[in-house]
Amino acid sequence: MPLLTESKVFIRPDGPDKVTGSGRYVADITLTGMLTAKFLYAGISHAEIIRLDVSAARRVPGVLAVLTHEDVPERRFGSIADRTLFAKDVVRFEGEVVAAVAAIDAEAAQKALDAVVVEYKPLQVVTDLEEAIADGAPLVHEGWADYEAANVERNGNVASFTSMTRGDVEKGMAQADHVVFGRYVADATHAAPIEPRGVLAQWEGDRVTIWSSTQVPFQARDGVCETLDLPTNRVRIIVPHMGGGFGGKCGFHYEAHVAALARVARRPVRLVFSRREEFIAPDRRREGMIIEITTGLKSDGTLTARRVRVLLDNGAYSADSSFFPHMAAMHTLGPYKIDNIHAEAFSIYTNHQPSGSVRAPTAPQTCWALESHTDELAAVVGMDPVAFRQQNCIDTGETGVAGQVYDEIGLQECIREAVSGIDYGQDLEDDEAIGVAVGWWPSFPGASGAFVKIDRDGKGVITTGAQECGTGSVMTLPILAAAELGMEPEDFELVYQDTSVAPYDEGATGSQTILNNGRATVEAARQIAVQLKNLAAKKLEASPDDIVLADGRAHVAGSPESAVSIVELAGVAAGGELLLGKGSGTPPEYPSAVGVACVGDQGLSGWAGPQFSCHAVKIRLDRETGVVRVLDVSAAHDSGVIINPIGASGQVEGGVMMGIGQALTEGTVYDEDGAQKNPAFLDYKLQTMADAPPIRVHFAEVHTPNMGPHGSKPIAEAPNVATAAAISNAITKLTGQPVPRLPMTAQRVWETMRGGGDG
């Protein structure tokens, strides 16, 4: 039964702030005496720093702090501890921070930056993935062996790797009637939230409060503590309204830089990025990739073996990307029944901007490659690509590539519904085609906590570490708490995104809020439910076990007229044992794995409660120019039971649109020195409303055991997986062969039709 009735309009609690302009984002907050921060970036992709002199910068009028690596503790950080707050000795990408200044205004800060003397001796730039792992390639990190990381092995420019083997891939290939090879290359892309990030820090004594547009306040806090040698209880991260993240604001970024500036300047300091900075500086870019897939299959379409090799552009530092090879390997193998697999994936250091979590990291590119390849497989055996997937995709009770046996899953329903939603067999104009692709995405169990209280008037507050970057925690968590207590979601306000107030949560990362914080909130609410039932039992002279909480009242089961309002019970509790609940709970376990990864398995090779999807798109191709327009999209998702329908469909629509951009117009272009050539919206083209097709959404609401509350699974990243792949398959139907490079720009489509070049 849905938690919200269909006619119910539940307006997101932060909505009125957002439509009236009264809601504050970091850049909107001003503190008395506040200074402006600016960074000096390397501006060169690989060089030795032979001179760095900030003495003139410190003398610029109005400048209160100028910092370099000499002014902060010497600490390396990251999933592989390969980076520092400020460059020391060597810079490894154009956006690396060399110095930071705080001044009374932006003009003075800029003058100080201009007065910094820095001289570089250029080093050989590493940008090409194959060349980077060739013998004798120049090293991005000479001192790599000394960095701290779990299980790392030094191997040239390889930052991290994964190897997965199941069955006997040679034997499987030998059994095949056909062996098909495909090679695909994906360009880097960006999260591109419309809000450029901001950080504001203020010290009071030995404690610092930092307002940051971070998706992961606790990670940001831990980064500040680690790099500035501070205990967790003296660093408080508050996230005000946040203008989108999409992974780009995951991780620990600039909170420590700004805190360090504020400590030296003895003033509050605020950093707000320009759009250009948002493109070039953060260690969160969707990595470029080379994906090679070889699949053996029988003439009846049975898959006998798959071998994959994936090269990922790690960029200069490792951010949170060290588990990406594992993700890439799983996505390139795909949600298919194949007994014999071998996958190798390598994340490779280059002098590009670092890679990191961007909405479903590694998935859109690998899915695009695999699903383009899958349509080729179907063509080789003369099968319809949809029928081919229906035959080969995993279903309930079957075994996936990593050996996991799946509980109840809805992938087959997704295929069926996506295809019927777009009228797959319809008559098409000769410049139109429909493409179909399937995708999957793991769910990440993790620790999380929540407090719930109800005050004397029966109104509740949920205090949680969960994050709200637009994704709808402000709706989902009140819906869950209200359902436990027989109350309305409007009865709850959310206090969130304050690390000194709320229990730990991983943040808006890995689509994990509903799964982990949802469980915590439900558990906290259940404690209050017990309290309310005890109070009601006393009042109604019944057993607490017989009390039902519904419609804002507590009543005796079977006798709805014997009831007391929750407001009344809350009044009673206000004079005695207060209505307080806390929840955390043990996260679900990951299934067993067959993979090996250099930074540990991280529980990923078998995926806990994966989400499945199938996207079908109808496109039109201008054959003379290669321009593709998406006319219609049908997206079906198994994200378990849907808790917040308007939020869930909003996630799918947004994810599809981002996927269309990645498919056609979004791609970072580098010059030969490793610098981005299009760090602006004019030439890094997000889709506009004029481009947006209608998007039909279907949810295969499979009740998923042992995942989120009420049989739910996550939803935020999964919609960003399969769209580019479906578009590719539609294009191929018109061009005759796949466009081998992502994004499939008009020029690349045209070149594919002409039979040469990949732009």
């Binding site: 410049d431 201008d622 120019t625 321009v627 327009r629 272009v669 008009a746």
Partner: protein, 299 residues
């Protein structure tokens, strides 16, 4: 640093005479300064409130478009839409609604970007620019005005006050089409404008074709008129496509390779000829052509 809002054309010209630079909508100037392309001039005179420059008026020989007429005005003005449709096509494609509201034809012409959308239509429609300074006025052919990317032959004290367009012959039509990767918010990757006059038998009596974003300035396909004359539109379009690709001197940049630009400018030129001929024959094709009949899959 100084800033003045001109209350009259004479005031504006007086300011220019002592070194001020004109600012109309500021869409190019302000963005350019913020991106570091060119610093904001030290002295500015705002000309956007000069109402005498904000009209489209019918004259004895053709029409005069004041320099402060915005793209929003051009795209819906009846004289432009019915007689000089290519210019309306172009105006309707510029930037976003806000850019079209603020951006002016005079600003667009004097910014002299080779990727400007209104340039190729003006050229095929035979436009001339009226320049005025405190010392006098002169009329300049556009091919003489645009000397390079962002460069014009105007003196610094000269203000573009109007664009004059000659009258349209009977059975004439014009169109501007451009290659775009999105359906809005685009800058021309390549573009082409065509003007066509039909004979009674449906063959082409004469016309012109000009191209955007394939050379340092907007360029005309010199022999387009000769290539088209006497032919039916289909054959003319094919001949013009080849000629356009031949005359183009595109660069390779992150938006497109030279090869791709050279090919697609031919495609755009052919489509412009086709649309112009259909309009000349009386067919109603909405403004802009890009969205009315589909250029770059955008139908």
């Amino acid at each position: 640093m100084s800033f003045a809002i001109a209350g009259s054309l004479d005031e504006a010209l007086a300011a220019l005479a002592v070194g001020a630079r004109p600012i109309a909508g500021g869409t190019d100037l302000v963005v350019g300064a913020r991106q570091g392309k060119a610093p904001l001039p030290a002295s500015l005179v705002a000309i956007d409130r000069l109402d005498e420059l904000a009209h489209i008026e019918s004259r004895d020989r053709g029409i005069r478009i004041g320099a402060m007429v915005t793209h929003s005005q051009l795209m819906i003005d009846q004289m432009i839409v019915s007689g000089y449709t290519a210019l309306a096509d172009a105006a309707a494609l510029v930037g976003s609604p806000s850019t079209r509201n603020i951006g002016t034809l005079g600003g667009n012409v004097m910014n002299a970007s080779p990727a400007m959308d209104t340039g190729a239509p003006l050229m095929v429609l035979g436009a001339v620019a009226q320049l005025r300074s405190a010392r006098g006025s002169r009329t300049v052919e556009l091919s003489d005005l645009w000397t390079g990317p962002g460069q014009t032959s105007a003196e610094t004290e000269e203000l573009c006050v109007a664009i004059d367009l000659p009258p349209r012959p009977a059975r004439s039509g014009s169109a501007y089409v451009r290659l775009e990767y999105r359906r809005a918010m685009e800058i021309a990757i390549v573009g082409a404008a065509a003007s066509v006059t039909l004979a009674d038998d449906g063959t082409i009596l004469g016309g012109a074709v000009a191209l955007s974003a394939v050379a340092p300035t907007i360029i005309e396909v010199d022999d387009a008129g000769a290539l088209m004359t006497g032919h039916l539109p289909d054959a003319a379009a094919a001949a013009v496509a080849t000629a356009a690709s031949d005359v183009a001197r595109p660069i390779s940049d992150l938006r497109a390779s030279d090869t791709y630009r050279r090919h697609t400018v031919g495609v755009m030129a052919a489509r412009a000829v086709d649309a112009a001929a259909r309009r000349a024959a009386g067919e109603e094709i909405g403004v802009p052509v890009n969205r009315a009949i589909g250029v770059g899959a955008s139908r």
